[in-house]
Symmetry: C2
Subunit: 422 residues, 2 copies
Amino acid sequence: MPISMKQSQLFTKTKKESPSDEVSLNAELLIKAGYIEKEMSGVYSYLPLGLRVLNKIENIIRQEMNSIGGQEVLMSSLQESSTWEPTNQWSDDQVDVWFKTKLKNNTELGLAVTHEAAMTKMLKDFVQSYRDLPIYVYQFQTKFRNEVRAKSGIMRTREFVMKDLYSFSKDEAEHTEFYEKAKEAYKNIFKRVGIGHITYLTFASGGMFSKFSHEFQTITGAGEDVIYIDENKGIAINKEVYTDEVINDLELSKDELVEKRAVEVGNIFTLATRFSDALNLKYKTENGDDKSVFMGSYGIGPGRLMGTIVEVLSDGKGIIWPESIAPFKVHLLVLGEDDNTHKEANDIYNILIENNIEVLFDDRHDVNAGEKFADADLIGIPYRVVVSKRSLSDGGYEIKKRIEEGGRIVNKEDLINEFKNV
Amino acid sequence: MPISMKQSQLFTKTKKESPSDEVSLNAELLIKAGYIEKEMSGVYSYLPLGLRVLNKIENIIRQEMNSIGGQEVLMSSLQESSTWEPTNQWSDDQVDVWFKTKLKNNTELGLAVTHEAAMTKMLKDFVQSYRDLPIYVYQFQTKFRNEVRAKSGIMRTREFVMKDLYSFSKDEAEHTEFYEKAKEAYKNIFKRVGIGHITYLTFASGGMFSKFSHEFQTITGAGEDVIYIDENKGIAINKEVYTDEVINDLELSKDELVEKRAVEVGNIFTLATRFSDALNLKYKTENGDDKSVFMGSYGIGPGRLMGTIVEVLSDGKGIIWPESIAPFKVHLLVLGEDDNTHKEANDIYNILIENNIEVLFDDRHDVNAGEKFADADLIGIPYRVVVSKRSLSDGGYEIKKRIEEGGRIVNKEDLINEFKNV
């Protein structure tokens, strides 16, 4: 992705009015600031600034998945019934969010809502012996879900990129070892994108084959879930399994648990042998026996994560991006029409680029200071640098963090050192 | 993408047998070597090695699109009829490759086959005045096309990523200037991925608003098109417009033209005001008049490009990747079970990584030399480095290019220098 961009060239513009058809804060701010565009209810496009944020989130997730041995692939959305029938996931009675379509010869196809079955089927081609396991495969792939309602901006959409990883292990012990590593990788992800402090490992319903699954829930009023948090232990229980038995099981105490609304930003799930049994994914053990592969699934939606971050990190003026995923590190503003000031600002722009510092340059003419400041606050880049006649007569450039009220004047050298050191 | 990988960890394996249900060379080789997996006819998944190649092709295209001012976005596949009806592209009579689906409330949606109309509609939000133009927007986005037949491997599929760029200019003169730049960018792309010498700028049917469109056609017997090439001028005419009039127009001579089969690997198209008129994308001129935006479209399918490269760059043993898009630069093979040899190979592996050289390490035990050589030839990485008891006693490591018959022995220092200098 390009290291720099001039705002006069950026084809998107901020909007003064909030969109009339959005009820969620994330959609409102992201649309006003020019990060996303609504195609229809529950379907959004990512504009240049938005795609930069999405890509940065994806790259953080990718690094963490690679670090625990994940191998990246890209599977198809189009799916045949034969893949999903053995696992009882094909009919609309069984999975109620399918988008179905048809080939010219009338064969019904589905648009993948998830990929456990497809991945299991694919692995049959590559898994024969215990020597082939364990295997960890993931992708960033577009899922389609035919949601009845979609009013949460990019936190719940009908079409979205999902990172889904599937683990294929010899037995439960090997699975558990990886499952714990995945937990840590997920914690790293939420920490790195700036919401680690309000994101809780949450015990949720485990389905048929395991007592619990684990969700990562981020505290926000915009969330659809209710969880009970133990602040000291840093864990929580989803309302769906909030019983005395579970509280005891987890050695928690009801008095310590605080009820909060939250959004599920990730989940990890022990699938055991449900899919491998149904699709006959077996391997030969050292003794020559046939055994079903033991599986897990691990999901994160980068778009939902982006929406959640906007919900929890904004103020009355706009978005406040964490530096790790901000579209740019620095928002450089030039004020006034004075030639010398513009020349100075251009110099700073080029020096930032030479020093490998990502910068959006508001080089627009005929836009007054108030509008430029308002746009900068709305867009929410972590550092604002202002070059104006006044800043130059004060000895340099005004630098201000998005989260700070006032700025300070620094000279050229200090400005660059400031960004090199953070 | 990770700089290195051990083949013992890679979950895919090469296959000895060719797939029985493929007639195209690209699908046969890519499946045998473990680059792709067939989901159904015309639908493929990209495995780890294949995704690396696809990503490298995409990155080359991205660089060239950024260099001519393209701004990257990501639009949705799900589309409403209201976007496509004004341009007469919604009904199956008008566009015959739609996959259609339905929302829960029975509203019909389509899966985008292209994005001219959607992009034009989106731009209405951002284009008001002549000052807002020109704008160049592109994406790498999954298209769905309900093809009746799909027998060309990844050269023609029902689901594929496409790079589509759309240009929005004030008038034809501004459009033409960009169109010529785009031509050069496309030529750079084909040169950089290794097929520039057999890819021809080809005059094809221009549709309603322009005499010609331009295709980039790569010579291969696997192509679906027939073109007539003037080798000296480096241009060609598509059979669909091959008439005496066109030959005269282009100042070519029938005697000089050679008939060849070819595949269209890219196309650029003047749309003029067809879409802006239909969807009412207008801007205010300097004089205050309303004028329709003048448009162009520019497409490349990275998957088709990958398939084409395999068709034209292979031999009886397997694929021969150009270095720019190979999954790795070096394929390091260790032969035999001897501990010291494995230790030496591991050292080389680590040194290559330290020197930032992409390497696939065939560290597998219990696989004989013949199989490792055959796999290396099939996978087609540009440089093979062999570490064996014999190579060590000869003074080092055997290095051989994929396209060469014999290798030569080099010592550690020379080996690294070799790769640093190419």
